[in-house]
């Protein structure tokens, strides 16, 4: 009896861990796109921040410094994307692709340059270590709640982030204006909303969130950087954003669903029953993408992005 509960809680905790990077990326997309700025560089930003987070932690022997480094690089990349997309009303897709391409090359190089390896960086102090986790021992035995008894700071940040962003977007003046800019920037402009400022803010905030996702990946439950990172998590985050209909809470659910798919698969593989074992890993891994395409096709009426999403904003006359 006890074992099962622990297993349940453990699984949930694992799902939360797994979902955190995806969720951060999704939230980054949500914030940015609600202001009308498309950012497909989430993947590239995560790669940068995952690496810089580890580097920072390595240099300072402190994961929190690593976190700051990660955020820092997120701000820089956000500014770059913002410069091209917002200031110059450039093609947001090209800008995003450029960042992704650079991320591949530059980080591989830095990995070798800094750590003299092409595979894994050496282990560094990370948020997943016992000392750095948030302990809430008295709920540990309670089913479901118990899953929250030993999570990392980053996972907590991601969850808090969901509600924080939801609150800002839907209950504050700033959020109203952000959404107006994403829907009809010209209307917003005529009412005195500073469209450019809002787009900049959203772009950089989105990048910071994506950067947090990268750090969550390398410094969360793992403690080093792998050259394969972020292994598509950035794109899954994008998918979660779309699947979650561009809302923070939707992004949360989508991320949990996507994360669950893999955890479920791992569980089933290790369990005794034969049928579940038969379903190939590839099916689980590709499920998020199938779901997203399905969402885009089947629910055209519902899965609508902000009306002016991706459209470069040029002032009139």
């Amino acid at each position: 009896m006890n074992n099962n509960m622990s297993l349940l809680n453990l699984s949930i905790a694992q799902i939360l861990d797994f979902a955190a990077p995806i969720l951060f990326a999704a939230l980054g997309g949500v914030v940015s796109e609600n202001a009308g700025v498309v950012n497909i560089a989430l993947e590239g930003i995560m790669r940068f921040s995952a690496f810089f987070g580890v580097w920072g932690a390595f240099v300072s022997k402190n994961p929190w410094i690593g976190l700051l480094w990660g955020i820092g690089v997120g701000i820089i990349l956000g500014a770059l994307h913002g410069y091209i997309s917002v200031k110059w009303a450039g093609d947001q897709i090209v800008s995003g692709v450029a960042i992704n391409v650079m991320a591949m090359g530059i980080i591989t190089y830095l990995l070798e340059f800094v750590f003299k390896t092409t595979g894994y960086s050496p282990p560094v102090p990370y948020f997943g270590s016992g000392a750095n986790r948030i302990h809430i021992p008295f709920i540990a035995k309670i089913p479901i709640l118990g899953a929250f008894s030993n999570l990392t700071v980053l996972v907590w940040f991601s969850l808090i982030g969901v509600f924080l962003i939801h609150f800002v977007l839907y209950h504050t003046v700033l959020g109203l204006r952000i959404r107006s800019v994403g829907e009809n920037p010209h209307a917003a402009e005529t009412l005195g909303v500073n469209v450019f400022k809002i787009k900049w803010l959203a772009t950089i905030s989105g990048s910071i969130l994506a950067a947090l996702g990268g750090v969550a990946l390398s410094l969360g439950t793992l403690s080093s950087f792998t050259n394969a990172m972020p292994m598509g998590k950035g794109f899954i985050g994008l998918a979660a954003m779309i699947f979650g209909k561009w809302t923070p809470i939707g992004a949360l659910f989508a991320s949990l669903i996507f994360a669950s798919a893999q955890i479920v698969q791992m569980l089933l593989q290790s369990s005794a029953s034969g049928i579940a074992k038969q379903i190939p890993l590839g099916f689980y891994l590709s499920l998020p993408y199938f779901l997203t395409i399905g969402a885009l096709i089947g629910v055209v009426g519902r899965a609508i992005p902000p009306a002016a999403d991706g459209i470069p904003y040029k002032k009139e006359g």
Partner: protein, 507 residues
């Protein structure tokens, strides 16, 4: 007291003098209308008053004070508000959110939605503009959406309200409601500028009316001193007379038959509300009407860009279901589009490429899918000469040609394709006299060859000069049919503006 005064306002654009030395004043509490044809300069003038444009020269006085406005924000501060023709609303947001955006009631950073709702309730009460503050704008009918726009500017303290073609999208009932609102606003001391080309409405609601024509102010009249016929005459006049030769051609069988055709526009509003007509071989049928009365939708349905809501289109005896541009062209239709840059040409393509577009899959321009450059070059060179296109260089990019030459390329292209029906939609828009003459001559040539021609034009003189039969389109329906010798431009003008026969005879 003068709410607004314009002195010698002039606005010069690179190629066009949009406003030419316009001066007038508007009294507080007055409903002042500005009328004029498309292109007369009303829009530009209003954008100046609203702070979107700066005048090239001239002065503006608001409540006696000379002002300079660099943006709509300045205008708002001066208590000027504008209700645009295309609403500046966010469909996903509620009425309240739309109205308070940019000036939200707040508790610190938090948006005080409840307080905003109450504010809207009060405002709505005060001006008698009933709205549901919590409803999403997307779910509202157009008339109510307009009320939201009005409340938006009232909330910011607008004393001078500008309405740009407000009834273009309203039903007759909604128009009545709007007028009630305008009268109420006038009662409470607001000054209203009403821009429109619908003379009947202008006569109903205004105190005074200013008429613009080709950028100049034709005159200002008090409602009591004028009537629709007068206004139409002031609006419509002509300065250059283009003699179009009358050619008699024996009419053949009906090539195009349209029955009961109804079409929506891109916003989903029903713009063409059921028209029926035929076009015969060797005849020019002209559709006269002010822009926005369903012409664009008629064209879109005929060319296959929009699926009609109901009705049939029969071309050369075959009923066309599921029209695409490809199959109507196959069935013998040629099309001169109203927007040559968007719909007529691929601007980065050279003349030689544009001139064969549409028949590029045919011999001799291509065989088995492979283009035959020599044939294309020969054809293009021939056409350049035949149509006097300048510069005489088939390698010039279409985007570098003048408007007239661009149109010539399109005409050359369309005429050389096998067709017996020509849809000419505003074929002389933006062209100078010479180019216009050229187009007219070619239409007459076509007519002589027995082509059935449907001419859709906003230029009355053009319609009168070219057509054998004229159909007047007003609010999506055909309100009259005439032959040129049975009518005058004035009569047509009035029909185009919605004045019925009875009303005409009373004046």
């Amino acid at each position: 007291m003068k709410a607004l005064e314009l002195k010698n306002i002039t606005k010069q654009f690179p190629r066009v003098l949009a406003n030419d030395n316009i001066s007038f004043s508007v009294e507080k509490g007055e409903i002042f209308s500005i009328v004029g044809e498309n292109g007369a300069g009303k829009s530009t003038l209003m954008k100046i008053v609203y702070g979107l444009y700066t005048p090239t020269s001239g002065e503006i006085y608001v409540f006696g004070k000379k002002v300079e406005m660099k943006s709509p924000q300045d205008a708002i501060k001066l208590k000027i508000g504008m209700v645009h023709q295309e609403f500046m609303l966010i469909p996903r947001f509620t009425v309240t959110e739309n109205i308070v955006l940019g000036d939200e009631p707040r508790k610190g950073p938090i948006f005080d939605f409840k307080r905003a709702v109450n504010e809207i309730k009060e405002l709505s009460e005060k001006y008698g503009l009933k709205v549901d503050p919590r409803e999403k704008v997307a779910n509202l009918p157009v008339g109510i959406q307009q009320r939201v726009e009005i409340l938006k500017i009232l909330r910011r303290g607008a004393e001078i309200l500008i309405f740009d073609e407000p009834t273009a999208v309203l039903t007759p009932e909604e128009t009545e409601d709007l007028f009630k609102t305008l009268r109420a606003l006038k009662e409470s001391g607001k000054t209203i500028l009403f821009i429109s080309h619908k003379l009947k409405e202008v006569m109903e609601i205004s105190d005074r009316i200013a008429v613009l024509r080709r950028g100049k102010l034709q005159g200002i009249v008090k409602k009591e001193d004028t009537n629709e016929r007068e206004l139409a005459r002031m609006m419509v006049g002509r300065d250059v007379v283009l003699e179009i030769p009358r050619v008699e051609v024996k009419r053949g069988p009906a090539i195009l038959s349209v029955r009961d055709l109804a079409v929506k526009d891109h916003r989903g509003i029903l713009k063409l509300k059921g028209v029926s007509f035929d076009v015969h071989a060797g005849e020019v049928v002209g559709i006269a009407g002010v822009e926005g009365n369903g012409q664009a939708e008629l064209v879109n349905a005929l060319i296959g860009f929009t699926r009609p809501v109901k009705g049939t289109i029969t071309l050369n005896g075959q009923e066309m279901k599921m029209i695409t541009p490809y199959n109507v062209r196959n069935k013998g239709m040629a099309y001169i589009p109203e927007d040559r840059k968007r719909r007529g040409l691929v601007l980065p393509f050279k003349i030689r490429e544009n001139i064969i577009m549409g028949q590029h899959t045919l011999y001799p321009f291509s065989k088995n899918g492979i283009l035959n450059d020599k044939a294309i070059d020969d054809f293009s060179t021939k056409k350049l000469d035949e149509f006097d296109i300048r510069p005489r260089d088939i390698y010039v990019r279409a985007g570098n040609l003048s408007g007239g030459n661009q149109q010539k390329v399109i005409v050359a292209r369309e005429m050389s394709m096998k067709h017996n029906f020509l849809l000419a939609s505003q074929p002389t828009r933006g062209l100078d006299i010479g180019a216009m003459e050229f187009v007219y001559n070619h239409i007459i040539e076509e007519k002589k060859k027995g082509v059935a021609i449907l001419l859709i034009s906003l230029e009355l003189s053009e319609v009168m000069g070219l057509s054998d039969r004229i159909l007047v389109l007003y609010e999506g329906k055909i309100v009259g049919e005439r032959t040129p010798d049975q009518t005058t431009e004035e009569e047509l003008g009035m029909m185009m503006l919605g004045i019925t026969e009875k009303e005409r005879s009373l004046q």
